[in-house]
C-alpha cells in the first residue's frame, strides 16, 4: 500500500496504488483493490488511430493536385513528428488519471483528466457484469469490465463509465461477482 489519499475513516487492505484524494472511504468500508488503467490499452488504440492518419496522409501525398502541394511539408511535419509524441505523452497522463477502487460495498470508477468524472455503484445494484477484450487485449491480458445496473444500461455503462484497460479482467470480474453474491439477500 502506498498511502491513502482520500479522507478515510474505513480501512484499506494491501493495495499497490493510492486512492485519489477526491474519493473518500466511508466508516466501516474496506478497500479491497485499487486498480489502474494499463498504458498499453491506450497505446494500442492510439497506434491504430495514428496508422489510419498516416495512411490518409500518404494518400494525400500522392493524389493532391500540384498547385496545393505546398501544404504537405508542414502537414507532414505535424502528422509524423508532432502528433505521435503529443498523443503518447497526453495518453500517459490520461491513463495515469484512471483509478478503479473496489471496496467491500461499492466500486468507484474515477478519471481525472482535464475534468473529473466519477461513478460509484454499490454491489447490490449490479445486475450484469460484462468483460470485453480486443485482439491486442487478449495478447497483453487487459480488458474492460463493465458493471451494469438498472440505471446505467448498455451501451453507456459498458463504454464510458466502466473499468477500462485493467490487467487480468476475468480475475477482476470474478472478484466483483463474489462481492455481488455476498451482498445478495439470502434465499429463504
Amino acid at each position: 500500500m502506498t498511502g491513502l489519499g482520500g479522507q478515510s475513516s474505513g480501512s484499506v487492505k494491501d493495495v499497490a496504488l493510492s486512492v485519489p484524494r477526491e474519493v473518500s472511504i466511508a466508516a466501516g468500508e474496506q478497500v479491497l483493490m485499487v486498480l489502474g488503467r494499463s498504458y498499453i490499452s491506450f497505446v494500442s488504440l492510439a497506434t491504430i488511430g495514428l496508422v489510419v492518419l498516416w495512411v490518409v496522409m500518404a494518400g494525400l501525398n500522392f493524389y493532391l493536385p500540384s498547385e496545393a502541394v505546398w501544404v504537405m511539408p508542414p502537414l507532414n511535419v505535424f502528422c509524423f513528428l508532432v502528433v505521435p509524441p503529443l498523443l503518447y505523452g497526453l495518453g500517459y497522463v490520461y491513463v495515469k488519471g484512471h483509478r478503479y477502487i473496489i471496496t467491500n460495498e461499492r466500486i468507484v470508477m474515477f478519471r481525472k483528466f482535464v475534468g473529473i468524472l466519477l461513478r460509484t455503484v454499490t454491489h447490490d445494484k449490479i445486475t450484469d457484469l460484462i468483460v470485453n477484450q480486443g485482439p491486442i487485449g487478449r495478447l497483453c491480458n487487459y480488458g474492460r469490465v463493465s458493471p451494469i445496473t438498472a440505471g446505467m444500461i448498455m451501451p453507456m455503462g459498458a463504454v464510458i463509465f466502466s473499468i477500462s484497460g485493467v490487467r487480468s479482467p476475468y480475475e477482476v470480474r470474478d472478484s466483483i461477482a463474489k462481492l455481488v453474491r455476498a451482498m445478495e439477500p439470502k434465499e429463504k
Binding site: 477526491e22 474519493v23 473518500s24 466511508a26 460495498e105 461499492r106 482535464v114 475534468g115 473529473i116 468524472l117 466519477l118 461513478r119 460509484t120 455503484v121 454499490t122 447490490d124 445494484k125 445496473t149 438498472a150 440505471g151 446505467m152 444500461i153 453507456m156 455503462g157 464510458i160 463509465f161 439477500p185
Partner: protein
Amino acid sequence: MVVSEPLPPHVSLLPNEKIIMTLRRRYPSIFSSILSLVSAGLLLGGSSTIRYIGQYAGSFENVVGLLYLVIIAVAVFFAIAALIGYFYVHGHLYILTDRRIIVSTKFITISVRDVAYSEITDIIVNQGPLGRILNYGSVVPLSPGVRGVYALPYPSMRRFSYAKVGLKDVSQPTRIMDELFGLTRLHRSVGT
C-alpha cells in the same frame, strides 16, 4: 453550500421528513456555458464575419469600426446571457432530506424530481476544468427510471433531453457524493 431558506410552494415535505441540506447551483458555472456558446458562435460565424468585413468595409477606419461593432455585440450578448443566467441559476434548488432527494428547477417552466435513496443505483460526479478550479460540479443520482444518458460527460450528447435530474454545478461535488453514498448506505441497511 448549505442554504436554509423557506421551501418553494411546489415542494412539500412528507410528515416527519427532515431536511438534511439544501443546495443551490453555483453562479460561476453559467459563465462556462456562456463562454462555450460564445466560442461556438465565433467558430461558426467568425470566419465569415471577418471575410465580410474584409470585402465590404473598404477603408481601414471602416474595418476598425465594424470590428468594434462585433466586440460590442459579443459584450452585449455576454451581459444579457449573464443576467438571464442569474435568474436561471437562482431557480435551481436541491433538497436532501432524510428520505429522498428533491431536484427542483424553476425557470419559465417548473420541473421537480423526487428520488428515494433506496432507488439510487449509481452516483455520477462530473467536474469540468473550470469546475475543478472553482470547486463545483454536477452530481447525478441515477435510478432505474432515470438512466445513464443524463450523466453523460459530453453535454452535446445529452442535449436532446431537457429534463433536470441531477444536482447541477453544486459546491464540493465529491463531498455531496459522499453524503449521498452515506444516505443510500443507511437506507440499504435499514431496508434489509
